[in-house]
Amino acid sequence: MSAPAQVESFVRAFTGLRAEVEKLIVGQAEIITGVLTGMFAGGHVLLEGVPGLGKTLLVKTLAQSLDLSFARVQFTPDLMPADIIGTNVVVEDAGGGKHFQYQPGPLFAHIVLADEINRATPKTQSALLEGMQEQAVTVGGVSRPLPSPFFVLATQNPIEMQGTYPLPEAQLDRFLFKLQVRYPAIEELNAILDRTTQAHTATVQRVMDGPTVLGFRALIRDVPIASHVRDFATRVVMATHPQWEHAPETTRRYVRYGASPRGAQALVLGAKVRALTQGRYNASLEDIRALAAPALRHRVILNFAGESEGIDPDTLIAQVLDGAPAGTTRTAEPVLS
């Protein structure tokens, strides 16, 4: 298949998948696009929002649209690592002999919904996050690979913090994107009511399978990116570091730690996915700008001044982008002079 045909196929598949999800999810187009972008980029996505906004429904609908296995884990404080990664149990064979046999946990699914991930203890969170990073889990000294494609969608509630275990920075860094699910607009709310309070319910069809997803992932990594676009992504990430000599003043004042190299990876991979979804064969500066907030907002750690003044990481990232880091020209003047 030629490249234009591959790209056209990807665009068609992406659009179809989004359309299937939008049969049940009203509005939240940005969130749906972000989730799909994360999935095709090969990363995991953290969804943050108050209860009742359809986070879980979104993930369930996505799993139904894909011909992939799906598992949902409701994280609670008493959830143990073995509950998600599996454990060895004693089984009795036909001859009456007993032996240990590994029983895989819910993590051995293509799509895993980790609902309210911040309610589990750090021990359990670590077990999940190890699987996310290594694409494998180790049980009883044996490393067991997870199925591919493996895609974790975690949700967390930002307001009910009592009895929760907020994810540490190192574990937040494992998520490619952090998407903030916002309250729907009035028109969207009316549509939600129409769809969910009537007898007729929409059915979701499977439009994509696992090998197709993996093929698209390989295609995405081939998307060309110009050196100045890549340099822009690097400088945006560096501009979130207060120690960097060209960091903007807001970063110096309010940021304790900036984004990690994983942030730059997320920016570039996301930009490539976005380019392909628009039928473009190259990543552009605009792609980097569009994905800066979801890729970096959970990687920027505010200091005490930033926390106390209620600085929003999105605002900070927007200021970083407005600062037009050195090496990128927005107007003709730098070229002229």
């Binding site: 030629s2 490249a3 591959q6 790209v7 060309p224 100045h228 064969y281 552009s284 020209t329 002079s337």
Partner: protein
């Protein structure tokens, strides 16, 4: 540029041309601005340049604009910059720049080929449009000011020569003219006086004569008739008369060698000798060129001479000098030396006033009524220590000399510490009612005295008992330093 599709190459060529034009335009604005500034300078010197000023200003303006345009047009245009400009102008989402980078790659993926084809197709479909926006530089916006100034200067009369603005008194010609007049006046004085009259009395006789009320011999230019020859000024010039009187002038000028040695007369006074020594050492030398040793010798000599003049002329006159020498400030040392010399002059003046029965207490009727007061007493205004000594007039030191006062009332003094360089230095600051009465002494010299006073004060129970140890600790800490 091989490997690029023709459409991309054409586009880049167009961008380069546009960019050069814009840079030339921008450079021309900037060059015109700086040329206009130069033109203003040329027109400001219109008086010196003359009629060429206006053409020169116009030429500077044109040359500036032309040079700026040339410099702008000749600058190298980076291919990637041109590609990015095209991407922005044509809203191609970095397609051109990416194609440019990946077209030269040895291994092209299928996506790169698709990218090149897509970029070419889009470029060929786009209508030609301007890609480099015109950016007006700041200099262009400010160009009106120098141009306006140049127009005003061109229309206005020439500015006056700056040298003529200097007051005539300070000009070299005026100074030379003054010196010439002074010399002429001196020669005229000498010419009208005989050798006997020109010989000055010794200073003692002169003082006595002045004291007796006799008028001193004329020393000013009182009879310049000899040199005021108007024979040649008259319409009918009498040349023979002029020649005849010239012989007389030559005779008078010949008497110059017989004039008294004014320098030796000047040196006969010990004050004058001191002044002369100072001038010999200081003349032609800068303070930094005088070695500290030489300055120390000079000050020692001055102090010695000062004691010969006045027994009370103590080393406190040189306090500032010693302080400056300790800090290695030869400038301040020389200044202190000047101050000491001023004091010597004041003493001389007071002494002369006393001999002439002028000054002193006589003009101060209130002081005469109050009778004779000694130094350190209180006058009617309540000012401490403004003493009057017989024949010496009113003391300029409001509280007397610091050292004497320190000996008498040490409680009015304080110790002030300072870190100067690596060596800590502690000095005694002696405050006075005026700045002239301030003085400084090394703390080492007064520390023992203060400690004895402290012990006496404690022994006499003048200090509360609770503070005894604190005060002793303080002095102990000073001693350790």
């Amino acid at each position: 540029m091989t490997g690029y599709p023709a459409a991309i190459e054409r586009l880049l060529r167009r961008v380069r041309v546009e960019l050069r034009l814009r840079r030339a335009e921008r450079g021309a604005w900037r060059g015109a601005f700086w040329g206009a500034l130069a033109a203003v300078a040329a027109l400001a010197m219109k008086g010196a340049i003359g009629a060429l000023a206006v053409p020169l200003a116009l030429a500077l303006l044109g040359i500036g604009a032309l040079a700026g345009a040339l410099l702008g047009a000749c600058r190298r245009v980076d291919t990637l910059d041109a590609a990015r400009l095209a991407d922005r102008a044509l809203r191609l989402d970095d397609r051109v720049a990416t194609s440019l980078e990946y077209a030269g790659a040895s291994e092209r993926s299928s996506l790169v080929g698709a990218l090149l084809a897509d970029t070419t197709a889009r470029l060929e479909a786009l209508p030609p449009r301007r890609m480099v926006a015109r950016v007006v530089p700041r200099e262009a916006r400010a160009l009106a000011l120098p141009v306006l100034a140049a127009v005003v200067l061109a229309a206005a009369p020439p500015l006056p020569d700056p040298q003529t603005l200097i007051p005539e008194w300070f000009s070299a010609e005026a100074k030379a003219r003054r010196d010439q007049n002074l010399n002429l006046a001196m020669l005229q004085n000498r010419g009208t006086l005989g050798p006997e009259a020109l010989r000055r009395d010794p200073p003692a006789n002169r003082d006595a004569a002045e004291g007796a009320g006799r008028r001193p011999p004329a020393t000013a230019a009182e009879n310049p008739a000899l040199f005021q020859d108007k024979a040649l000024i008259k319409p009918s010039a009498d040349f023979s008369s002029f020649v005849k009187r010239s012989d007389e002038r030559l005779r008078v000028l010949g008497e110059t060698d017989k004039l008294p040695d004014l320098r030796s007369d000047f040196a006969s006074s010990k004050y004058r000798a001191l002044l002369r020594k100072h001038e010999e050492l200081a003349a032609g030398l800068r303070a930094r060129q005088l070695s500290p040793k030489k300055l120390a010798e000079l000050l020692s000599e001055m102090e010695r001479l000062g004691r010969k003049i006045d027994e009370e002329f103590g080393s406190d006159a040189f306090d500032g000098y010693y302080d400056a020498m300790e800090r290695g400030q030869t400038d301040e040392a020389l200044e202190a030396m000047e101050n000491a010399l001023s004091r010597l002059r004041e003493q001389e003046g007071r002494g002369r006033d006393a001999r002439r029965l002028r000054g002193g207490r006589e003009p101060d009727q209130a002081a005469r009524d109050d009778g004779e007061r000694l130094e350190g007493a209180f006058d009617e205004s309540g000012m401490e220590g403004e003493g009057v000594a017989p024949g010496l007039g009113r003391s300029t030191d409001a509280k007397g000399r610091p050292r004497a006062r320190l000996r008498s009332t040490p409680y009015t003094s304080g110790v002030q510490g300072a870190q100067r360089g690596r060596v800590p230095l502690y000095e005694t600051q002696v405050p006075g009612s005026t700045s002239r009465a301030d003085g400084q002494l090394p703390s080492v010299g007064v520390f023992g005295q203060y400690r004895r006073l402290m012990e006496d004060a404690i022994a006499r129970e003048q200090v509360p008992r609770d503070y005894h140890e604190q005060i002793r600790d303080y002095f102990k800490s000073l001693n350790e330093r």
